[in-house]
């Protein structure tokens, strides 16, 4: 007998998502929307079809593999990926998901925008969050080169990082983490030794995502005479191919298996300084803010996929003589999921508008602080939600939800990384403290809410104002204990405000 009375699956991750279309229409000008809408229809279909199918294969049987040695015993540190994966790489970058943030779209003779890129990322990560990761690393690499590299470096590398089929693609990567340091980037010890106009790197990076697939990696290292701590770190561009480096091993990760995450050893790798020496940490923190938005977008993708999978299953499945979707408890669950998804999507895209302004250097100092604040609270909230959504999708499927033939276990496994990558809740809480204690971010936040709410939701905003004021007056230790629950409430209020005004 049949499990489902009727099998329903999505045909197009964009076309069937009217809420997204509505948001994009609001946040894009007509010209760009008209272009993007057409492209996303195409991409949405491929994401729901072949890209999803390949993602399944990559996750279960076709993960990237390290080839440490060739047959002659020579160390090669090559990463093998399956042919379908290579096809997804090609198709995705050719949409301009990275390139058109920085260069003109030929058809309309103008640049795209982060908003468009994140819409693509939202669609893509419904199928393959593990591959959206390399894309976001390439975005961060493009950002760093575009903003801080000198003209020679830019000329040599940026066209490849922005490739859309016009030239050879170099995927990017950002290597921060070291074994002993983890989130404590300032403890890094990889060393850079000058050699004329370039450098040689020595040491090990411990969570080097996209290793072996990237054409260039952006790497934090410490020059020989540099001070301790984060101020002593410089940023380097390291070309991958033929360089003096080795991959010790690929990490056996719970999820996002499409991205090869490695332990990388630099054994004198040639490297080029990016920007000013000793500003590396600050450049990387900027890139990190971009990555945190990417993380939020990936979270939305997983939330959306979880919701639609749960919905379709509930519509097709019978129990106790009714369709699942006819039970009040089920309806309630689905409704709560849908509303939260819409609110969070609205908030994240609202936040992205501010980010566009910041990266275009059109923002005020206050807006920059606000931008960092929103990124911190929305990164945290969306990552936690993506896990909850994945759990809900599993439970809606009952026993089937626990079986890897269904996408639900992968959704959970992939979602779990999102609370860990780019800063855990604790790290983000410390960011809140910094922003509040140093930049009065809490005042800016309440101001923004008031403005956006246009008079409505006064009670809630007032209550938040008072709570934030109290918070700002606490000792640091007490702030630490309070920060995470506060951030959750800030996120929910922000979401309510922007959703109501939609």
């Amino acid at each position: 007998m049949k499990v489902l009375q009727e099998k329903i699956r999505q045909e197009n991750f964009y076309e069937e998502d009217e809420f997204l279309q509505r948001l994009l229409k609001q946040y894009m000008d007509t010209e760009l929307f008209s272009y993007a809408d057409k492209q996303l229809k195409n991409f949405g279909q491929r994401a729901a079809g072949p890209i999803d199918e390949r993602a399944r294969h990559t996750d279960r049987d076709g993960q990237p593999r390290l080839e440490q040695y060739n047959k002659f015993g020579e160390e090669v540190s090559r990463v093998w990926v399956n042919e379908g994966y290579r096809q997804t790489v090609k198709e995705t970058y050719e949409t301009g998901i990275v390139g058109y943030v920085h260069k003109d779209i030929p058809e309309i003779a103008r640049k795209g925008s982060y908003t468009y890129s994140f819409a693509q990322g939202y669609v893509l990560s419904q199928a393959e969050p593990g591959f959206y990761c390399p894309v976001t690393l390439t975005m961060a690499t493009a950002y760093l080169l575009d903003h801080y590299a000198d003209e020679d470096l830019k000329e040599a590398f940026l066209p490849h990082v922005l490739a859309t089929g016009d030239t050879e693609l170099y995927e990017g990567a950002t290597f921060l983490t070291e074994r002993q340091g983890g989130s404590d980037v300032g403890a890094n010890v990889v060393e850079a030794v000058q050699d004329g106009d370039h450098y040689h790197l020595y040491g090990e990076k411990y969570f080097a995502s996209n290793a072996g697939m990237c054409g260039v990696a952006m790497v934090l290292a410490r020059m020989e005479d540099a001070p301790e701590g984060s101020r002593g770190l410089s940023l380097f561009l390291v070309p991958w191919e033929g360089n003096n480096l080795r991959i010790r091993r690929l990490k056996d990760k719970l999820g996002v298996r499409a991205v090869p995450s490695a332990e990388v050893e630099f054994t004198g790798a040639k490297a080029y300084l990016v920007g000013e020496a000793d500003r590396g940490f600050y450049y990387m923190m900027e890139a990190l803010n971009l990555s945190r938005i990417c993380n939020a977008v990936a979270s939305l993708g997983i939330m959306r996929r979880s919701y639609t999978e749960a919905l379709h299953y509930a519509e097709g499945r019978n129990a106790f003589g009714r369709r699942l979707v006819d039970f009040p408890m089920i309806q309630q669950s689905l409704r709560e999921l849908r509303v939260k998804l819409e609110k969070e999507t609205t908030a994240v895209f609202d936040m992205i508008q501010l980010y566009e302004k910041v990266t275009e250097s059109e923002a005020t100092k206050e807006e920059e602080v606000l931008n960092r604040l929103l990124i911190a609270i929305m990164k945290k909230e969306s990552a936690e939600q993506s896990i909850d959504f994945a759990h809900e999708a599993i439970e809606m499927h009952g026993g089937n939800g626990y079986i890897e033939d269904f996408v639900t276990p992968r959704l959970l496994r992939d979602a779990q990384v999102l609370t860990v990558w780019e800063g855990t809740a604790n790290i983000l809480a410390l960011e809140l403290l910094r922003l509040v204690n140093k930049y009065e971010a809490h005042t800016l936040f309440v101001g923004m809410l008031r403005e956006k709410a246009e008079g409505s939701m006064k009670t809630q905003i007032d209550a938040m104002e008072e709570r934030l004021l109290n918070f700002s007056n606490l000792q640091q230790v007490e702030q630490e204990l309070e920060a995470k629950s506060l951030m959750k409430d800030m996120a929910w209020l922000y979401e309510d405000v922007v959703y109501e005004q939609l």
Copy 2:
């Protein structure tokens, strides 16, 4: 450089757990405790050592495999398990984890108890929740045979199900779920055709855990002339070896990979009726209550392991010049985990005391209702907590927590099944409705709290009383919408009461 300044791992899952020892001392008489304490010290060491090591191997590389055909092309439906796993099976059953609930412990010439068995299960599931599952299925099988089988069946099979090294072990299994039915057991269609003193079964079971490993399976099926729905179901004992049945496939599960979960096809399998015809569903529901307690115990095991892993990592790991454990936020997280763990463990073992009374038929009608109620709310709460604990353990490890070399991803993958197995939150909520609307369980619950609290916590209990009263007066649809959050609050209050009285 080192990840951890000092590597700390548990040597003994029992000996290092003083809280558990305190609980057991309270809930066992001196003679049994003295025996159990010694045995658990031994078992706790093996669980933290070789059993844990084997569990890791079984999960990652050595999962059970289906051998459908032999080399001659004949269907054999054999399940292969690795040799280490077989060793764990042997060592575990020989502790009497199943046997001594029903038969005498030679050393002390008296039966053990569920309390002792669950203490063993709590220790075991810290290492290998996937193998505690078969143990609990064997417990359910033993329960059903002991309570409902006739003497001939008992004589033939019970000694094997209770084997502790004295005779050949038959692991048990309970097959309820069918493909079209899922939790809706009443929709089952597997058919039983009489043939003299026995029956032949035809049809398919869809989530048949321990298939291929079990010696006997307890199976619900419908006799030819039986009515529709759950009343038409009878319970059968099906010997596995040489019987007419085949395994279609093993499920590729997210976690608990040690237990082979299969789709089983009965093609005329010989079967023996257990108890009265058409009472099968009710027998199985009794067994299900036992399984739900087992589920709660497994949840506790995962919570405990998650907590200790998080603690040890925080103690060994440095960041920003301090040990993790020296950060207030970290201390807060660890403290919350420890307190919740202790409360929930206390509540579950309190509930088990009532269960002992019920299975010994020494309980009143009201106590039976209360027992079902506590099982429903504690199964739901503990399963959800085990997932949360696993998330916390992952986050405490940062990036490492997401890597399968650490136990943390497995803890999450294993925990996830616990909200799904033996009834999802929705199913348990329906149980609450049934108990409240039919048996006034809410009144019994409040009465019990009052009695246990001995006057303390009056405010909270009064508030709960009022809330339950309101709830009991709602329409069913509104009850459904309210039930799950109510159950959570009931669980927390129950835990607070018993923890305070400890």
Copy 3:
């Protein structure tokens, strides 16, 4: 330090093979050669490059996999192959390796030939013998349909079997072997039940190569009222997609892992009669002769690859202060391999010329007998040689030759099937007996040698004549004991004669 002083690998399996080019020039008219030469240069490069690389992946990590059930538990019997493999399938059939034997090559507006097709097969099987197998099955299917199917069947299926990118490709397959029968095809029991203008098949085939990949299979089955033995067998065309059949399992073969070989169960599969009822066995025996030539061609491919691998290794590797290739023993081995390879290639392509005549129905009765004889002895000899060559290649590499990073172990594993498929030495020996005792094939053989030798090699031919005469006068039992060594000597003499005349 380096294993090889200089790494040498083939760039083009055709262009670097001057001997093959010389043979083809001799056996093709100018027009076809000119076309084929250009195409083979292209194909030879791809075979030595990406096709070889994919073959390596398919063999070691990317073998075809059976997906028995979909996620809903429904039996689907789908065979998964990796994306690179799919690319090789596409590229190969689009060369017309099957199609242009039967239909016009657009560029030159005329059909190709078996000679051309086998030249392609020789090149292909140097990279991927396991995929040349499906090609040859498709060739056999095309042969059977072209010669024996009625116009309706032809119209419906033949264009697909001959597809070169112009329409959807249906790969072919021929299912003879049953579990109990093996080579004893007459013992087959798969049953065909008539249903109007078509049939339904019931029963099992045990070595069904290309199952799950084929679009149509040619299947021997017995009609309900048919006599026992091979005369009772009819030939059926069975469309694969959506038909009533299931794959029990894929065989875990020593080599040629690219081709999925399955146990297939027909559960009422729709089938169409091909040709006359009860002539099926004879049709299949004709197809088998084609397959035996294919087998010989695959053997040549493996011999060639083994030789070139051994040569290049000996050229690049130093030992005891010299290159391996400078040792007399090594030179001797390489020289013997080269000469044997050239002789055998010459003989096989000589034999193919006769086969072209036979399939065009331009041959005399005697030539048909001779054709069968040559096929039997050359199939046997070439298969044995391919194994010997693979051993030699391994030994030339020393320890490296035994490591799967090198192609040598795969060459041996693949070669080993060639003595087993399409008739073992014993089966072929029985064919010799049949041809000698029934058709005086020995006389025809000697006559042919005399004619080809044009007076030379008289002593050897006379000796062979006498030996064959004696053989023809032996009792069957004695013939059986003598047959295999006789066949070897016949093969060597035939090779010597045609090689000398080249």
Copy 4:
């Protein structure tokens, strides 16, 4: 339907082998035979049962795996083997297969003998040639320590190498081969740097069998001031545990997958000199002779298993209305296999008698030369035969023989190493030249044949004498071209002589 009418499998690799029993009775004194016969009955049963079953698992799914890093990213170079494999290791060494060659058997208060050990090896390698390899490496290690180590080293390590359950077992290993050198051991470059009473090794060994499993390895290295070539090599004992060495990778071998063969890097590994400096090469060559006998014994094991598998299949399988075994061609094949097996077994055990004398230092100079000669020709012949036998077993099974569910593919894969390990045919041919040209070994060989033949087989021996004389007068280049075929004929004649005299 059934593949085999009746399934026949061996129950006991010793008890069912009457020919072996007859040989052993002849070559052992009564006391030792009486003990050995009893032990071998036991071991033969385990080899045919659980050891064979585990060997199958180890080969197909449970191969040794390299754990390069622990979860904290620290290099550990640990080799994992499955638990069944560990059991086979334990059971086998406890039979005294290594120990009782050098120490007393408690039950009979006397040493065993190589003859007994090789009888055990013959039985074992019918089940698991891949594990017999480590045993033989341990034998070689024991030999080297016993003959050449000083008393301190002996005391510290020999008891462990000879362990039979009485103390912790250290398996042995011999590391000769380097990447650039292969068989050209004199080209080795691993360096030994003195440090007081011990040394530190630096460099890489390329085919280091039993790496990671061994407790001690015997390693050839060159002291800092040592001359080039084989005279500059010293022999060192290297304890494995906790030493400065790493495993780069395990080789992915065609067969004998039970033994981990690695590339090992010494990064200052502590080492102890064995015997005189610069005599290392000669010691190792002595050990190599022992290893070549082991190789021949393993070949016999594979030949025996191939023969019995072929025989049982032919007895159980029907085709064309008869059992396979009733066809004259089949009978001929089986008879030829059996006779060759018996002859070769006789010859190898005859050769072992001479070896016993040599290792006991009771042999004359001439006998030592003869011993080396016999070892060279019998190693070569037996290895080639084991491959042929494996092919024959495969062909006897038809298509089934090619399927890994049957043991036949493994027999071929395992056999293939035997022509490669311990010297290829070319290397052995060079040994023949050395022995003939330097020590007149050809004269000794003929003398031995005459003596053993006791007057019979005069014609053949005379012919051989003449041929050898001619050979000895050839130029080296011509000798090289002739040597391999000559060795084959010498082997066959030697076998005929000793078999006739049995």
